[in-house]
Amino acid sequence: MATVEIRNVRKSYGPVEAIKGIDIAIQDGEFLVLLGPSGCGKSTLLRMVAGLEGITGGQIAIGGRVVNDLDPKDRDIAMVFQNYALYPHMTVFDNMAYGLKIRGIPKAEIRARVDKAANILELGRFLDRRPSQLSGGQRQRVAMGRAIVREPAAFLFDEPLSNLDAKLRTQMRVEIKRLQDRLGITSLYVTHDQVEAMTLADRILVMNHGVAEQIGTPLEVYQRPASLFVAGFIGSPPMNVLDGRIDDHGEVVLVPGGQRLPLPQPRPTDAGRPIKLGIRPEHLAVAAEGFSIEVELVEALGADTVVYGRLPDSETLLVRMAGIPTVRERDRLTVTPQDGALHLFDAVTGRRVE
């Protein structure tokens, strides 16, 4: 059990900078999710913590000890890989015990630790099998068992659920959450799946192009996205983004089509400023006046319905409504955002405007 501190960490491959200075202190027992699209550097950052990639600049400290120059084995971490990385020729027991054997832990204790982990993960019946005789979910559990028996300072998960089918993924997600709650071991978890991030994380680090776009709890990230990138990445279907302008009194946002949306508080200093306006589809509701849209497509998901509407100036507006569809294609609808549902972003930098 330990804290993990990442201090201004950088990574370059030749002239290409993959990680451009990340700073975060992860609390003891915290579950941090690194979220971002492929190629954003999230796996690289995790592998730097693991010691599988060198650190170009900055420091990484695990449990207060700077580990920049330590081998992976000396960092007191355990890692779960996307493709499980089980030793194919060893039994489940040997897979879990291998790391302990190398560390010279007595046989009886290895037995006890593996049995305990197997119990937690319900792998008891499979200890004598080879990985090839297990299903994907079982293999992933063995990989987690291998991490647990080590009793490390931190768990590192590198997209552990990506190779599983949707149903199993949900199930394993719950198991991981339960496991981490129970063991209370500091965890770093890389994923590109926002649902995994939202459900597992204590805090999410949203990454894009090697930069931390935002660090915050799942709800913070959802409710107050720090940038257009985060706003578009978190939430499904994605947030609507419209070009707008704050009027000359700083009281309303003008959007093309003549719509006037009142700001929560007047902001006279921003009068006349061009702006990107974000509204989540689930925060739009049918009303007497507001955006007038023509329904182009209706996606009925059962519990709720996503309506693809066309604004008069031909921009698309997504509306998410609860329940089964009440509208049909080509219907006309008027929708308006709920109070406090407007997100303002700088038109140039994309940063949130508070």
């Binding site: 084995k73 890692m79 030793y87 194919p88 020729h89 790391g99 190398i102 090839s132």
Partner: protein, 282 residues
């Protein structure tokens, strides 16, 4: 129904004919080794076994004087061939698996240069470099020794290449998982790479053992005394050139005996051999 049956039949006929063509000379050799030299010498070898088998084999094995010449006993030649073939097979596997491990898993300066150096030796068969090799072996005083027979044939680009290709299919994550588990390069090699390579090793062992067993030109050059004769060179020396008649019954018995070790290796390792060729056990 009928066309499928016909289509099924054709490959079987082709296979059976093929087997007969391959098996017939071996059958003739087997039969020949059971008749006396007189019967064979008259040119009328029957296609059924004769009664001289035990006598012929005993004679070949112990190397008692034949009717016309004195040969190195088969037991000596078999031992020489066995030592040579085993040394070549084991040595080639040991050296090539280690060099392939280095080339596939380690980053060191000139790695690719070393790889290509190994690789281009594929273009140089034993025959091409046989004179310089002979000179080196002779200078080292290895003529008429087991070392001289085996060592020059041990280096193998083919086996190195095969192992390297196999090692490249081992996922990086496995290496990384082992690193995190605390396994260094030597442990990883012994605990993970070797067990994963065992079917490949078995397949290569079969191929290399037969390769070693069948060596002809090199043993011919590097051995001059009868004690060091290998069985393949020995058989050819039994067959006289020119006018002299041959002890065909003994030659055939010797040939049959010479076939046995490779056949045994193939039969014993067949399961692994096939496995090594068809799957990589991932």
């Amino acid at each position: 129904m009928k066309p499928t049956r016909f289509i099924d039949l054709v490959p079987h006929i082709v296979l059976i004919v093929g087997v007969l063509i391959f098996a017939y000379p071996i059958y003739v050799t087997l039969i020949g080794s059971t008749w006396d030299s007189g019967t064979i010498g008259r040119g009328g070898l029957p296609l059924w076994p004769g009664g001289q088998g035990m006598v012929n084999y005993a004679q070949a094995w112990a190397g008692e004087a034949g009717e016309r010449a004195l040969y190195t006993p088969v037991r000596t030649m078999m031992l020489n061939s066995l030592v040579m073939a085993l040394s070549i097979a084991v040595g080639k596997i040991a050296i090539s698996i280690l060099s392939a491990y280095a080339v596939a898993f380690f980053r060191f300066p000139l790695r690719m240069a070393f790889f290509w150096l190994i690789f281009i030796t594929l273009m140089l068969p034993v025959e091409v470099r046989i004179i310089p090799t002979y000179k080196v072996v002779a200078d080292l005083g290895l003529i008429n020794t087991y070392a001289g027979l085996a060592i020059p044939l041990i280096a193998s680009a083919t086996a190195t290449l095969l192992f390297r290709q196999f090692f490249l299919t081992i996922p990086d994550e496995l290496l990384e998982a082992a690193k995190i588990d605390g396994a260094g390069p030597v442990r990883f090699f012994i605990d993970v790479v070797l067990p994963l390579s065992r079917t490949n090793i078995a397949a290569l062992f079969v191929i290399l053992f037969i390769y070693g067993w069948n060596q002809y030109l090199w043993p011919l050059l590097v051995t001059s005394s009868g004690d060091m004769e290998t069985i393949v060179t020995g058989i050819t020396k039994m067959i006289g050139t020119g006018e002299s008649a041959n002890d065909w019954h003994i030659i055939m018995a010797t040939t049959v005996l010479a076939m046995l070790p490779p056949v045994a290796v193939v039969v014993l390792m067949q399961r692994w051999f096939v496995k090594g060729l068809v799957d990589s056990e991932k």
